[in-house]
Symmetry: C2
Subunit: 219 residues, 2 copies
């Protein structure tokens, strides 16, 4: 993998590859900007390639592509490790191989392209780097009810119950309200709504999934 | 406050203002994209206006500007509530006044500008909307040692200890390694490094602050 962008200002690249162990200035501030740009550009890619994915699905797919480990892999493909500027401590302890340091440099490099060449240049570069990875993502992920069922089964927990709470509207435009209820070992009840009972159940299952994930992250 | 942008495609605005309670299609997917764009554009504003802020400080400042409550305030200033399309249930229960629904619509509207007019249009719009708020931020926030001390005092906890661990390098380019140690009621020891002892201590205090925040968020 190669960076297709050619920098006008070489100092920006050097700064992007300077770890904080080497003193100040370093790439920490650029990393903040690059992380945000990466999030937006990959969000747009998924918005385009996955027109039927829900917000939750796109968010999960992005987390799959943009996380410390994945970015470290990309940094290695770009051979950023060899070009990092590290303090002598990090140098001795092999900091140029550390995932977190590599991922941060990758993010900072994205910011450097933006600062050097503007948004379109940055977008083109990021899209180029992520094109194959985005293309390799499953086109349509499993629906929320299936994912919830599989997740609960994996924990050895009982399956959820779906309850019809209410319907409203005329026959041709009826709206269904359901609850998805998990009772053991945690108690969760989440509402869902849709133009069919199935869509409402998918909607509720998605909410339960997100709550389960929040609960997990807390540990 | 007014949206300075004029849409070519009115359908995009309508979609941005359609809550999921009104059925599909709705603004959920656009909200995902808008949230990411907002994060990047505000990150850039802070990168410019706060050239001395650390990554952690910029991240905190952004969270102050871009959060559900703050975005709901901006949505009200733009009078988005009156223009929301809601399902009848949300309509009856006053969904057009709900912070989360308003904030989501605001984010979706940012995406709508992007999809309609491109990045520069979106950036100009967001910068216009946030200009006063960014200008009102404290120019230089308190340093990390001060913030850590104040935070610990607010909890009634003992003050941290800073220990010099090592120095390395020639006299003119010495690097200091310190530890910032908090022992009660939680035990945290975090490393810091810098070209002076003071900078190294600031660095370590910043790490302790971030760990304390992580610990708090876990509850």
């Amino acid at each position: 993998m190669e960076l297709t962008y050619t920098f006008r200002d070489a100092a920006l690249v050097a700064l992007a590859l300077t770890h904080r162990s080497a003193g100040k200035p370093n790439n920490e501030r650029m990393e903040f900007l690059g992380d945000a740009l990466l999030g937006a550009i990959v969000a747009e890619m998924l918005y385009e390639t996955h027109p039927k994915a829900t917000e939750g699905e796109m968010s999960r797919l992005r987390a799959q592509l943009v996380n410390g480990q994945a970015l470290a892999v990309m940094a290695r493909e770009l051979e950023l490790g060899e070009r990092l500027k590290l303090g002598s401590g990090e140098l001795k302890s092999g900091g140029f191989r550390r995932d977190s340091i590599l991922a941060d440099a990758f993010e900072a490099l994205v910011a450097a392209v933006y600062l050097d060449g503007g948004f379109e240049a940055c977008r083109d570069t990021v899209r180029g780097l992520f094109a194959n990875r985005v293309a390799a993502l499953p086109r349509s992920s499993k629906d929320a009810k299936t994912r919830l069922q599989e997740w609960l089964q994996a924990q050895g927990w009982p399956l959820p119950q779906y309850e019809l709470v209410a319907t409203e509207g005329e026959d041709h435009a009826r709206i269904f309200d359901v609850n998805c209820v998990v009772t053991q070992p945690v108690s969760i009840s989440a509402p869902g709504r849709g133009n069919s009972r199935r869509l409402a159940e998918q909607d509720a299952a998605e909410v339960v999934l997100s709550r389960l994930r929040v609960a997990q992250d807390g540990h």
